[in-house]
């Protein structure tokens, strides 16, 4: 390891802010009470949980009563999608099966896999395509709506390429058709303004560890009046919506992280965007055949997603790590199923090129002063890997990967 550490994978997870940690610590052993008990210790825990509920509600312009704590973004997505599906299917009639869900092809697996799961039980799911900048077409959404549509679940912003969906307009369409609208705002909350009233959102998921809070804690917003079927039964905590003794330190951490994100939102957006724009500009102008994936306008201020032709992402990440730079890639080698990024495929990037991708996601602790070092390091690594690559013509210094874009033969795929 090099001595320097530039952590730029904040969309994967982020370090707990020292202020957040400090706020959490007493709840591990001093104020360790069970929030459901009646003596002082329990009452203090309950107060702490309610304070956090307010802090989270304030971040998204909701009422504290509309916030329920969960174990993180994945649980939040599952709870809402399955909860709505199970609730609505009970209203099915001969004419209307009440079983149709609309989502997109670029959702996080927590949404996509949940939808696929429901398909096994007779639900029908429409996966809307996105354009090359990673944004849905509102006409497609309108056309997909049927009488049986019970839920539209479309992410607020994408975790890979940072594209921001037209949430407000999606919400308007949902309202006009009397359909519930859920938005996975795990990457948006605390990064850009998320306002459930203004943006017409009925249901929303957030997660603490993407905003300098602890891992394993998140929340859902459920608009007043919306009811879902409960998935986790037990002692009736969280108004019966999500049983289980509350993770008080985690919830306190989420609350504090939400409060800090809210206070510093404007200033952090500016900070992130400055670094983002400098990096995007310098990399694409200094490194031949380098591109930015995703939308330039509707993009999270903290998200950068590059593509370098002729090289593969895992080897890029490993070499950058040696230089003290941590980022992510959509390369197949980095995914559990070796299939490569479904998001890059959805925006039309060819396989050989999607392997050479690099996501850098900025956090409050990153510095604009490091930009030059990062650009130099990427340049050096990309140049080195191209020298090694059969997809790069080193004599003429150009990409020749298209020559290799052949049909995949079955034998090749069998090996995987």
């Amino acid at each position: 390891m090099s001595e320097k550490l530039i952590y730029m994978d904040n969309s994967a997870t982020s370090p707990v802010d020292p202020e957040v940690l400090e706020e959490m610590l007493p709840y591990f052993n001093k104020e360790f009470g069970n929030a459901s008990t009646l003596y002082t210790l329990g009452v203090e825990a309950k107060k702490a949980v309610d304070k956090a509920r307010k802090q989270v509600a304030d971040l998204i312009n909701a009422d504290p009563n509309e916030i329920t704590f969960t174990s993180g973004g994945s649980e939040s997505d599952n709870m809402i999608i399955k909860g709505v599906a199970l609730k609505e299917i009970q209203k099915a009639t001969e004419e209307n099966p009440k079983n149709h869900i609309i989502t997109t092809t670029i959702e996080h697996p927590a949404v996509l896999e949940t939808c696929k799961f429901l398909e096994k039980f007779g639900f029908e799911v429409t996966y809307l395509p996105v354009d090359e900048s990673g944004i849905i077409n509102l006409e497609d959404l309108k056309n997909a709506i049927k009488d049986s549509t019970i839920l539209i679940t479309i992410m607020h912003s994408n975790n890979e390429i940072g594209s921001i969906q037209p949430t407000k307009e999606i919400g308007e369409i949902a309202r006009a058709n009397n359909i519930l609208f859920h938005s996975d705002a795990v990457q948006s909350a605390g990064k850009i303004p998320v306002d459930v009233i203004e943006q017409n959102i009925d249901l929303l998921s957030i997660s603490a560890h993407k905003i300098n809070g602890p891992k394993g804690v998140g929340a859902v917003y459920i608009k007043k009046g919306v009811t879902l079927e409960v998935l986790i039964h037990g002692g009736g905590q969280e108004k019966g919506l999500r049983s289980g003794t509350e993770n008080v330190p985690g919830i306190v951490g989420l609350g504090k992280a939400a409060e800090l994100a809210n206070i510093h939102l404007e200033e952090r957006m500016k900070h992130n965007q400055e670094i983002r724009d400098a990096l995007m500009e310098k990399v694409t102008s200094n490194i031949k055949d380098s591109y930015v994936n995703g939308s330039m306008e509707n993009r999270l201020p903290n998200n950068i997603h590059f593509r370098f032709s002729g090289i593969e992402g895992e080897s890029l990440i490993l070499r950058l790590d040696k230089k003290g730079i941590n980022g992510a890639t959509g390369s197949a080698c980095s995914t559990h199923d070796l299939k490569g990024s479904h998001v890059l495929a959805a925006i039309g990037i060819k396989p050989a090129l999607s392997h050479g991708s690099l996501r850098l996601s900025i956090g409050p602790e990153n510095n604009i002063e490091d930009v030059d070092y990062i650009v130099e390091s990427i340049d050096e690594v990309v140049t080195y890997l191209r020298k090694l690559s059969p997809l790069w013509d080193n004599k003429n210094d150009k990409y020749i990967g298209d020559l290799f874009e052949k049909e995949v033969d079955e034998e090749d795929l069998d090996r995987y």
Binding site: G310, I311, E312, G313, E314, S315, L318, R319, K322, S331, A332, C333, S334, L338, G340, K350, P351, A352, H355, K387, L388, S389, P390, L391, N394, G401, F404, E405, K406, V408, D412, L413, R415, Y416
Partner: protein
């Protein structure tokens, strides 16, 4: 992610015998961009059927680069027949193992070397060399 052995790390950070052999006795390319690994191996063979030089060029993950680099070291000095018998497992063992998920997809070096030898034999039979 599962960790690579020190030997794998050494080979992907400092790959040996990289590059192209001009007018090589044989060359072979295997892999597929969809899967994210493509490697080409070049061989030079002397009149005693011994591999005198082996070089590679690889697009792929750490394991793909390390196995390519490793096999070039293993193969130099072997006869063509001996080199043809190097298996994927031999390469992985020489690297002190590979993470299971990499055993299949990124362990293509033995196939690439065989393809290069096939190419050499074909060219010899056809009087090209």
């Amino acid at each position: 992610m599962e960790e690579y052995s020190d030997k794998v790390k050494d080979h992907y950070m400092n790959p040996r015998n990289t590059g192209i052999i001009e007018n090589a006795s044989g060359e072979g390319t295997v892999g597929n961009p969809v899967c994210g690994d493509i490697m080409t191996i070049y061989i030079d063979v002397d009149e005693n059927e011994v591999l005198t030089d082996v070089k590679f060029s690889t697009f792929g993950c750490g394991a793909a680069i390390a196995t390519s680099s490793m096999i070039t070291e293993m193969a130099v000095g072997m006869t063509v027949d001996e080199a043809y018998n190097i298996t994927r497992n031999d390469v992985a063992e020489e690297l002190d193992g590979l993470p299971p998920i990499k055993m299949h997809c990124s362990n293509l070096a033995a196939d690439a070397l065989q393809a290069a030898i096939d190419n050499y034999r074909y060219r010899k039979e056809n009087g090209e060399i």
